[in-house]
């Protein structure tokens, strides 16, 4: 594929359409639209630069470092969006994200590309991105649900603890609520992903030379991984977070953002 001057003109023309609509109908969205476009270009340029050099070097070590970097970003954004203490939750969230990105990512790579090609940057980088990206929104909502529930509706927690239940038994109700909150966005988005995003990805894969059946299988594999990634990373995060979230007596510490 060659990027032509005509292609660039079409991009600019396409972006002018929403700008024109906003201006004509006086929608008061011009600033937001401009910011979104600037962010999009900045993000795509940065990502392009990173991916260019990563693909150029195609080093296993750098590819793994990139996966770790993706897990760091996922952890920071998840905890930040949940408005919880970064000091206490970054590490558990990072461990949860990293476990999924590395273990699930490598499993997918091995299943699809065999041991020979699985460490290739062309494959490792997008899969790390898919997995990390699928976790962020789900985990931020579920972490918020878990800790806000424990802070504000903890009668059942203290009732069970006070009657001799283990910590795991006492938080089980809150874990269940967090898992529901975790899986609902992804399940809800499946229709959008299938109709809105999948055709683009399938088309890209076929354009790149992949067979139709391989491309469909790859898409099913990725969607399945995205469905599994968020709840698995949440459970790992909550397990690791126990040490940081509860004191030796089982009392919840202050998990607010400012703590």
């Amino acid at each position: 594929m060659n990027i032509s001057f005509l292609g660039i003109c079409i991009v600019i023309l396409l972006l002018c359409i929403p700008a024109y609509i906003i201006f004509t109908y006086k929608l008061n969205l011009l600033n937001k639209f401009a910011m979104s476009v600037v962010k999009m270009f900045a993000y795509m340029v940065l990502t392009g630069v990173f991916l260019y050099y990563i693909s150029l070097w195609n080093s296993v070590l750098i590819n793994i470092l990139w996966m770790i970097f993706m897990a760091v970003i996922a952890a920071i954004i998840s905890v930040s969006k949940a408005r919880l203490s970064m000091n206490k939750l970054f590490f558990p969230s990072f461990v949860g994200a990293l476990s999924v990105v590395i273990i699930m990512g490598l499993a997918i790579l091995f299943a699809v590309f065999s041991f020979k090609n699985m460490f290739d940057a062309r494959y490792m980088i997008p899969i790390a991105g898919f997995l990390a990206g699928s976790m962020i929104e789900c985990n931020s909502k579920s972490l918020e649900t878990y800790y806000v529930g424990l802070k504000n509706h903890n009668a059942i927690y203290y009732y069970l603890l006070g009657n001799g239940a283990t910590h795991g038994q006492a938080v089980n109700y809150f874990v269940k609520r967090a898992l529901e909150k975790n899986m609902i966005p992804m399940l809800g988005k499946m229709a959008y992903i299938l109709l809105g995003v999948t055709p683009m990805i399938l088309w890209s894969m076929i354009l790149a030379g992949m067979g139709v059946i391989d491309a469909v299988f790859m898409q099913i594999l990725m969607l399945s991984a995205m469905l599994a990634a968020a709840p698995v990373s949440l459970l790992i995060t909550l397990a690791v977070a126990r040490v940081y979230s509860f004191d030796a007596y089982g009392q919840l510490k202050n998990m607010d953002k400012t703590a």
Binding site: A155, N163, G250, Q251
Partner: protein, 204 residues
């Protein structure tokens, strides 16, 4: 025996003139903690259950100090009935499937028998939990705790709608079977009917 020796509560304001908390509850005794200040009562209850430490002093159960390493073990000897009943249950009988260990399997039939002795309509067991009156819910939890047959029972802030002349004799019969009962209440009748009491009215 449950004992607090030279106890100063953690997490609450403590006037310098206030004496330390000292009391013990033996087998067969009903002990009343008489007070109205929720934060002190909560701090004391949680300290007794090993859910928070004392600022100073110590708590012992059968002579052994309750600390971070032993608290979870001792809590298996306690039945705890809270005042805050905001539970995510559909019906009150959901408590029967709670994950803590019970010596005996408690059935709905057993609950009905106990409720009959209080003159309460047993069909309430099938009512939606959110529509159940708080004092009825607490009474049912007290019955579940009694039927759980653990050495120590702590009742946090008894609802005054539960008639003391019915409940205290019921708990006395329970205590007589080698149990210790601690009741938090601001009801004079409950205080009077218990064997010992601690007045926890702290003016800061």
């Amino acid at each position: 025996m449950l004992e607090i020796k030279n106890g100063i509560l953690n997490g609450v304001e403590y006037p310098a003139t206030l004496a330390d908390i000292n009391f013990s509850v033996d087998e067969g005794e009903l002990f009343c903690i008489y007070g109205t200040q929720d934060d002190y009562i909560t701090a004391l209850i949680r300290s007794m259950l090993g859910l928070q430490p004392l600022k100073s002093g110590f708590i012992t159960v059968d002579g052994d100090v309750v600390d971070t390493s032993s608290a979870a073990y001792f809590r298996n000897m306690f039945s705890y009935v809270p005042h805050d009943l905001d539970m995510p249950w559909d019906k009150i009988t959901d408590v029967l499937s709670s994950p803590f260990e019970k010596k005996n399997k408690i059935t709905k039939k057993m609950l009905k028998t106990e409720l009959d002795s209080f003159g309460i309509d047993a069909t309430l067991l099938d009512a939606e939990y959110s529509k159940l009156q708080k004092h009825i819910a607490q009474l049912i939890l007290i019955i579940v705790a009694v039927l759980s047959d653990r050495p120590y029972l702590i009742i946090d802030k008894l609802y005054s709608e539960i008639p003391a002349n019915l409940l205290v004799p019921y708990l006395r019969d329970y205590a007589a079977e080698k149990h210790s009962v601690v009741i938090v209440s601001d009801d004079e009748d409950v205080k009077r009917m218990c064997d010992k009491s601690l007045i926890l009215d702290i003016n800061v």
